[in-house]
């Protein structure tokens, strides 16, 4: 029996449910020091003086440094890696500790190092920083107006860059349109907010450095940090131990990681830094923060002929690793799952005095899905058609795949009608509408919203997104090394770096089936740059479709060698050896068989019968660069109730049909979908990173930044259709971000449906009680 397709219990769990996981904060090293940062209290200011003398006198303090004092410790600034051909991106120098000016609240200006974290906090209180405040730039649209104060004088503008892509003739579509729908959407700023705060521990032993860090990207971090600190890559080991959630917030190389390395180098002792939750909200990168101006053109019969988007993205004060690229990352699916003949997209990035934005779960694709889905709803209202009928009319049909969009993107496979049909098997819309009508008579406002979504993921074909493609200065293949031990268990090193996805289990299932080894005896290693080959880490729903495929390819090479060894010892031809139920046997002779343990034993202690052209050992590697992205899709329905007297929105039902190709472990797929949808419900109803007009962050704790609890979230009804991807041999597509990409428009659409009898035409997220209440009051002609 194969293990792929089974809901195996996770191999990760026994240590985690008993408190025996090892997260970065759990690491204690002899002589370890603790760093605490002094951060700007201003959104924009000149540093006029920093007095560290009082702090240095505190008990337990080993050192206090300002940005000026550490300037010589860094060989290079924090990099940004997008260089699109022909486009200049304004990129300010970005150093771990600031010198001269600060550009957002939380910008670090000095560091205290002490023998305990408490002593470091005490001393940090005694560091006196004087600032000369400058005008802060907060609203991205105002930032683009003439005469706005500037975040960076040197650029003479707050515009970071413009980027455009188009296909088909949108102007003609607009000229010929029988119907034109326009809309403006605000997709507000959010935090990734993993429950584990960031933490980094650095150690220097002579010229060898080790950094343990809460990162999704240990390999990328080694490359970047080696450059920033002038440490050769062979002398820098980066380890991601158990990582307590990422959601994109840990897809970054942060100032603090460079800083603890510099401090360990300078002081010759291990240095740990742990983020407070307020620091996370203030200085771990944010996400979203886009304003979208959308135009959709159509015929009277509902056929969409064109779509245009003008995106203004608030990037904050600096360019982190991928900051300016994230809004554009949504572009391949900015036409949704519809056959739209003309698409015209334009992006403008804007500096403001806020923490930079970057990838947060979905990264550009939730924003794209939000506007296309809600504008399809609006088109349906305009035409007086059923919103699902408008969708069906424009869906790319199953027989059109692989489908090349107007932008030249090739959607690999799909069956959008089937996923919507399946959704409606679970969700009886006629019954819902009659229930809705009777509830309205009782003063209960219930609404339903749909989202038929497609995602681009499996980052990425290097040719498409690398230096000669869209211009990321990187490649996105993945590596795997598969090693069978002399006693027949397997040790795999994968270049991906998971943080909750269950890769130790799903990858063991894939490798186990191919090798003929029980997945319980397949150990998946990752996240340690000294243990395996170069990898490109975990983000963009890539681990399975790129890293899993690399693993499968390496495992097949091992299987092939195992068959040669087996054939030689059983005196058969290698092509006659079959793997069945964990045994390698000669075709037609099940009794002539060997287990992997026997074969690997022979590989490691070779008997003389083994031909000399078979090398000893049983270990193979593979590097896999996909030829295309993968495009998971699905259909979601959300039902909400709104209390018109309080404005409170409650999600009462959520049904999701997703298609990520064959599920390696269905239980893990469901788990990813549940979590992804919850992340989106959080953004739609509760979560918002909010800066006031002076640039002070108002939502800097879990008191003000409201993550949903179990009490706010419904149980989920999930189902799957299964359309394999032709891109990889496993047929798999990503599922980690799907729920987050799909769900905000479903929630928003449900809220609008519920509010419709109350006269509310449109409201931006988050749908907090106050906002909903005020919208109802305004629509009813009352005071707002």
């Amino acid at each position: 029996m194969t293990s792929v397709g089974q809901s195996l219990k996770r191999k990760e769990d026994p240590r985690m449910i008993t408190g025996r996981g090892q997260y970065t904060e759990d690491i204690q090293l002899p002589g370890m020091l603790h760093a605490v940062l002094i951060r700007s209290t201003h959104a924009h200011a000149t540093i006029t003086s920093i007095d560290t003398s009082g702090a240095k006198e505190h008990a337990g303090v080993v050192a206090v440094y300002t940005g000026e004092e550490l300037a010589g410790d860094f060989a290079g600034p924090i990099p940004m890696v997008w260089a699109p051909p022909g486009v200049e991106i304004n990129t300010p120098e970005h150093w771990p500790l600031k010198r001269g000016e600060v550009k957002h609240v939380g910008d670090p200006v000095a560091v205290v190092v002490a023998t305990s974290r408490g002593a470091a906090f005490d001393a940090a209180e005694a560091v006196l920083v004087r600032y000369d405040a400058k005008p802060a730039v907060i609203d991205p649209e105002k930032a683009l107006e003439d005469g706005s104060p500037l975040v960076w004088d040197s650029f003479g503008t707050n515009k970071t860059h413009e980027w455009a892509v188009a296909g088909g003739d949108f102007d003609a579509a607009l000229a010929e349109a029988e119907v034109t729908v326009e809309a403006r959407y605000v997709n507000h700023r959010v935090s990734g907010a993993p429950i584990e705060p960031r933490c980094s521990v650095a150690e220097a032993r002579a010229d060898k450095f080790t950094l343990w860090s809460t990162t999704q990207v240990p390999h990328i971090a080694r490359f970047v940090l080696g450059g920033m600190l002038g440490i050769p890559e062979d002398k820098l080991r980066v380890v991601a131990p158990d990582v307590g959630g990422g959601f994109g917030a840990k897809l970054q190389v942060y100032a603090e990681e460079a800083l603890v390395l510099a401090l360990a180098k300078r002081l010759g002792r291990p240095v740990k830094w742990t983020e407070t939750r307020s620091e996370h909200m203030t200085t771990s990168h944010h996400g979203r923060d886009q304003i979208n101006h959308i135009t959709l053109t159509a015929k009277r019969d509902g056929t969409v002929t064109g779509c245009r988007a003008r995106v203004v993205a608030d990037l904050g004060a600096y360019q982190q690793l991928l900051t300016p690229f994230i809004p554009e990352l949504g572009f391949p699916v900015m036409g949704g799952c519809y056959a739209i003949p003309s698409i015209d997209l334009h992006f403008t990035g804007v500096f403001t005095n806020k923490m930079p934005t970057d990838a947060i779960r979905g990264a550009g694709r939730p924003e794209a899905t939000y506007w296309i889905e809600l504008t399809m709803d609006k088109l349906a209202r305009e035409l007086g058609m059923d919103p699902l009928e408008v969708r069906r009319k424009n869906f790319i049909r199953k027989d059109q795949f692989p489908f090349e969009t107007a932008l030249g993107i090739v959607y690999d496979s799909g069956d959008y009608h089937a996923s919507l049909d399946r959704l409606l098997e679970h969700f009886d819309l006629d019954e819902f509408r009659s229930e809705q009508a009777s509830l309205r008579e009782q003063g209960i406002y219930r609404g339903v919203g749909f989202s038929t979504w497609v995602e681009v993921c499996g980052l990425a074909p290097s040719r498409a997104v690398g230096p000669q493609g869209v211009g990321l200065q990187a490649a996105f293949y993945e590596s795997a090394n598969v090693r069978v031990t002399p006693t027949g268990s397997a040790i795999v090193y994968s270049g991906v770096s998971p943080h909750g996805q269950g890769i130790d289990t799903s990858f063991a299932q894939i490798a186990g089936d191919i090798l003929g080894i029980d997945p319980q005896n397949v150990e998946i290693l990752h996240g340690d740059t000294d243990q395996g080959a170069w990898g490109w880490d975990t983000y963009g729903s890539r681990s399975l479709s790129v890293g899993g495929e690399a693993l499968a390819r390496a495992a097949r090479k091992v299987q092939e060698k195992a068959k040669r060894i087996c054939a030689a010892l059983l005196e058969a031809a290698p092509e006659d050896i079959e793997l069945e139920d964990g045994k390698y046997h000669v075709k037609g002779y099940p009794e002539k068989s060997m287990t992997m343990a026997e074969i690997s034993g022979a590989a490691h202690i070779p008997p003389n019968e083994l031909p000399a052209d078979i090398e000893p050992g049983l270990e193979e590697s593979s590097f896999y660069d996909p030829e295309n992205f993968v495009f998971p899709f699905g259909a979601h329905a959300c039902v909400v109730d709104i209390d018109a007297e309080t404005g409170k929105v409650t999600v009462v039902r959520y049904v999701a049909v997703d298609d990520c190709g064959p599920a390696i472990n269905p239980m893990l797929v469901d788990g990813q979908v549940h979590g992804g949808i919850t992340h989106a419900i959080g953004q739609a109803l509760y979560e918002q990173i909010h800066y006031d007009d002076a640039g002070q962050l108002v939502t800097s704790t879990f008191v003000d930044y409201a993550l949903p609890t179990a009490a706010e979230i419904p149980k989920f009804e999930t189902d799957r259709t299964e359309t394999p991807s032709p891109t990889n041999s496993l047929g798999v597509k990503g599922i980690g971000e799907a729920g987050t990409i799909a769900a905000t428009p479903a929630v928003a659409s449900a809220v609008m449906d519920a509010l419709q009898p109350l006269g509310v035409e449109w409201l931006d997220m988050p749908f907090t009680p106050l906002r909903v209440y005020e919208a109802i009051q305004a629509a009813q002609g009352g005071a707002s």
């Binding site: 993993p194 919850t678 179990a710 009490a711 989920f716």
Partner: protein, 159 residues
């Protein structure tokens, strides 16, 4: 460095004594002094519940209790919830039902759920959801956590 206090606490059945700074929070004493790193810190404001332990049999957020307040008390952490080598029904159910992903909130979630089941051995879905609203999870969407607590309800601790 402030004043110090001498404390004696029975942690997971074993008497532990220490001289601690008066301001030391229970969670840091457990983690840094005793090496019981299964109890986690996720926020500074008593919201996330990752630090939940049992103090004299009741769930508390150990980031909001001074170590000194635990003097003379009995504390149970995730490491001591089940006898060595065994699993508490909740631990088993979280594993069985995929009630965890990154695992960071899990110890606190299990300790809070154990307290809930002590007070209410057969809770409804609603009671579970409200009973756990002091514990945040960013990964699971809570669905499988609720399933795990339901599955564990009524089961005895295995020896």
């Amino acid at each position: 460095m402030g004043a110090t206090v001498r404390i004696g606490v029975t942690v997971n059945g074993e008497r532990r004594e220490s001289e601690v700074e008066a301001r030391t929070l229970l969670v840091y004493w457990l983690r840094d002094e005793l090496g019981l790193t299964g109890t986690h810190v996720g926020c500074d404001t008593t919201n996330c519940g990752a630090c939940t332990v049992h103090l004299n049999g009741e769930a508390v957020k150990s980031c909001t209790v001074l170590a000194a307040q635990a003097d003379g008390a009995e504390v149970t952490t995730i490491e001591g919830l089940a006898p060595e080598g065994g699993l508490h029904p909740l631990q088993d159910a979280f594993w069985e039902k995929h009630g965890l992903q990154c695992g960071f909130c899990t110890p606190g979630m299990i300790m809070a759920a154990a307290d809930l089941l002590q007070r209410n051995p057969s809770p409804s879905d609603e009671e579970i959801r409200h009973g756990l609203e002091g514990n945040l999870c960013r990964c699971t969407g809570y669905h499988n956590i609720v399933e795990a607590v339901k599955a564990a309800a009524g089961k005895e601790v295995s020896a």
